[in-house]
């Protein structure tokens, strides 16, 4: 299960990474011109940024990682671990995060998808079709 809510943290990283990357591009092109060597340096920087984002989202959103880190604090009774990973609570938390992120709104006590959420559904829907994923879990 992945959490698009990590986008806020990703945006924070990009706020630093993009200007630094622009600096790297300018520096390398000024030093070496538009050569293979310059583009090799740019590609390595881009790869390291991607790797950081990949590890970031993996570590923060993976249930397996969260479970291992939880158990690293000590053994947990099976029933307690299942309760901590309680799906109803997870859905409730996700709904609250989506409301907080402006993807969902409450209208007269009812949930509705906000414009931002609709854009997400549209964008991810196109991505799902491109990658050949089926419909959302239904």
């Amino acid at each position: 299960m992945r959490m698009p809510m990590q986008l806020d943290s990703v945006r924070r990283f990009l706020a630093v990474g993009v200007p630094v990357g622009a600096g790297v591009v300018v520096f390398l092109l000024a030093q070496h011109g538009a050569t293979t060597r310059a583009f090799a340096g740019i590609a390595v920087y881009a790869f390291l940024c991607e790797l950081y984002l990949f590890l970031f989202t993996l570590v923060l959103s993976s249930i397996s990682v969260a479970t291992l880190l939880r158990l690293s604090r000590g053994p947990v009774p099976a029933a307690d671990l299942m309760r901590e990973l309680e799906p109803r609570e997870m859905v409730r938390l996700r709904v609250e995060r989506l409301v907080g992120a402006g993807c969902l709104v409450r209208e007269g006590g009812r949930l509705a998808v906000a414009r931002r959420g609709r854009r997400m559904l549209g964008a991810f829907g196109r991505l799902r079709r491109l990658f050949g994923h089926g419909p959302y879990s239904r």
Partner: protein, 172 residues
């Protein structure tokens, strides 16, 4: 732009384009190849072969330009594969997107969203993850308690370090 790409690098770029085309034309429509493991191997194995080939070629050339081309190839492979895997994973969606889809569907029908199905799916996934960790020898069940094996403790230690590095403030 004064960029004369070596033939080997042009071939490498063509290989990346062909790899993507193979996925879109073949893999995307093949059920058995849509698992995380299959997609990961679909990228890892060719990447090892292609980057290994470029590295061997650069080693034979013993030339700074060839080395730069090999590094460029490795960087492009890394960016392509990681971008693809991240986009693939995001597109697969999860709770957040399923919740949005459920709320939208319910709103159109004029009713309330039914999250019970998502809760059931979530519960099944939790159990599946724990079982997978047990199969991988990272976790074991003993006297009604889950605990880490030695291998699990090592993995958790590495992941903990990684987590503190990527998110030192714990903001997520």
């Amino acid at each position: 732009m004064n960029l004369a790409l070596p033939m080997e690098l042009q071939l490498f770029l063509a290989y990346l384009a062909a790899h993507l085309a193979v996925y879109l034309l073949l893999v995307a429509s093949t059920n058995g190849l849509r698992s995380e493991r299959a997609i990961f191997l679909f990228h890892l194995l060719p990447a090892l072969v292609s980057c290994g080939t470029m590295a061997a070629w650069a080693g034979l050339q013993q030339d700074a330009g060839a080395l730069a081309a090999a590094v460029l190839a490795a960087g492009l492979q890394g960016v392509y594969s990681l971008s693809f895997l991240e986009a693939w994973s995001l597109a697969q969606g999860g709770y957040s997107l399923s919740i949005l889809a459920e709320v939208e569907e319910a709103h159109r029908a004029g009713g309330d969203p039914d999250f019970s199905r998502l809760e059931r799916i979530g519960s099944e996934k939790q159990h599946a993850r724990i079982r997978a960790l047990q199969r991988q020898g990272l976790v074991r069940l003993e006297s009604g308690r889950y605990l880490l094996t030695r291998r699990g403790r090592n993995a958790a230690a590495a992941l903990g370090m990684l987590r503190s590095w990527v998110d030192p403030a714990g903001r997520g």
